[in-house]
Assembly symmetry: none
Homo-oligomer: 216 residues x 2
């Protein structure tokens, strides 16, 4: 069994920027009870490092090139349900946060957070608690009040139109393709925006991309 109180907390650092990792390592190790036992710069290495060192907490940035960080979370959790994973990234969109938690993350902290908040989150996660930084809590709270900004509240037609739109199709092209009037497509477009809470077409495209509806 783990003797965390006696031995401190072992941490696996996953981030694709070497100097960022080294900086974090120094910040964490200056705490005394936190020990970085391994590092990785991609999703695949993250899992092998996890297997090899069995750290108490995995601190990882989801925005890595190549395989998604979400993939890494799912990967680790699928094989080691005991794993505690703290997402540490600069992104702060509600969809991403929810995706991370449902992929199995135990915590979500933005890089805008104070170092003290980050180490506090690591300790919480190590104790098996859920942790998130204040800004993330705020964003999730707003999101839950705004009747949802995810796309699981969209109908099939709406999804299809959003996919084509985010793929770069014009309103006319979509209308022709689906045998609808331009007016109807315009109405869907508006409906999708209000349903998802996107204020801008660009936000819509980003939403579609982050939800895996379109690839870019």
């Amino acid at each position: 069994m783990n003797e965390i109180a006696a031995t401190g907390i072992s941490v696996l650092l996953v981030d694709d920027h070497p100097i960022v990792r080294q900086g974090y390592r120094r910040v964490l190790e200056s705490q005394g009870d936190l020990h970085v036992v391994a590092e990785a710069d991609n999703a695949a290495d993250a899992y092998s490092a996890f297997k090899a060192r069995d750290p108490d907490v995995v601190v990882l940035d989801i925005s890595m090139p190549g395989a998604s960080g979400l993939e890494a979370i799912r990967n680790i959790r699928a094989r080691s349900p005991r794993a505690r994973i703290l997402v540490f990234t600069m992104h702060n969109e509600a969809v991403l946060v929810k995706a991370a938690f449902s992929a199995g993350a135990s915590g979500f902290v933005t890089k805008s957070s104070e170092p003290s908040a980050v180490v506090a989150a690591i300790r919480s996660v190590a104790r098996g608690e859920r942790a998130m930084s204040d800004d993330i809590a705020h964003i999730l709270a707003e999101d839950s009040l705004s009747a949802g900004s995810a796309l699981d509240q969209l109908g099939e037609r709406e999804i299809e139109i959003l996919r084509q739109f985010a793929g770069g199709a014009t309103t006319e092209q979509i209308a022709a393709h689906l045998n609808l009037s331009v007016k109807t497509v315009q109405n869907y477009h508006y409906l999708i925006k209000t349903k998802t809470g996107a204020r801008t077409d660009a936000q819509l495209v980003r939403l579609a991309a982050t939800c895996g509806l379109t690839r870019i």
Copy 2:
């Protein structure tokens, strides 16, 4: 005159993430000859900190919220042509690199670089030399050979507006942010579309994403 060899190199750190700054600070200070004399988390503070401490080198991330980092470079260089600025960011798009250098940066290093390469770049820049990481040199080399991407035909202002737009900002937000009239931003928006050949806002977002201008 500066007695760098005797006193070491003083550094101003500019990055909007506190823990990232703290990490860098520790990495740099462990070198012995590098001293972080000030930090800033936005373009405005960066210049006042520069005035107050007159550091040998400014290490800054261009991707800060609010005013562009390019703006900050221009700002500092306009008032203190002696300033040495090392851009240190995760972006690695040729357009951005060229924009940074023409704004007055002395060096450009990506966060993918080894810490040793970063500190080497700081020392080079302090000596008045130009510095860039290997991956940046590679990208610039490729770029000079290729016929040029769609973004190459855009001016700096256009790039900045495209970045913010593709990031999800509304026209009003961009205008407020850059102190422009809404009409001017609309005109730039239209200009960018015609220059790049994008027929749709969604296509514009995709273009910005594939060129690395924005991350999704």
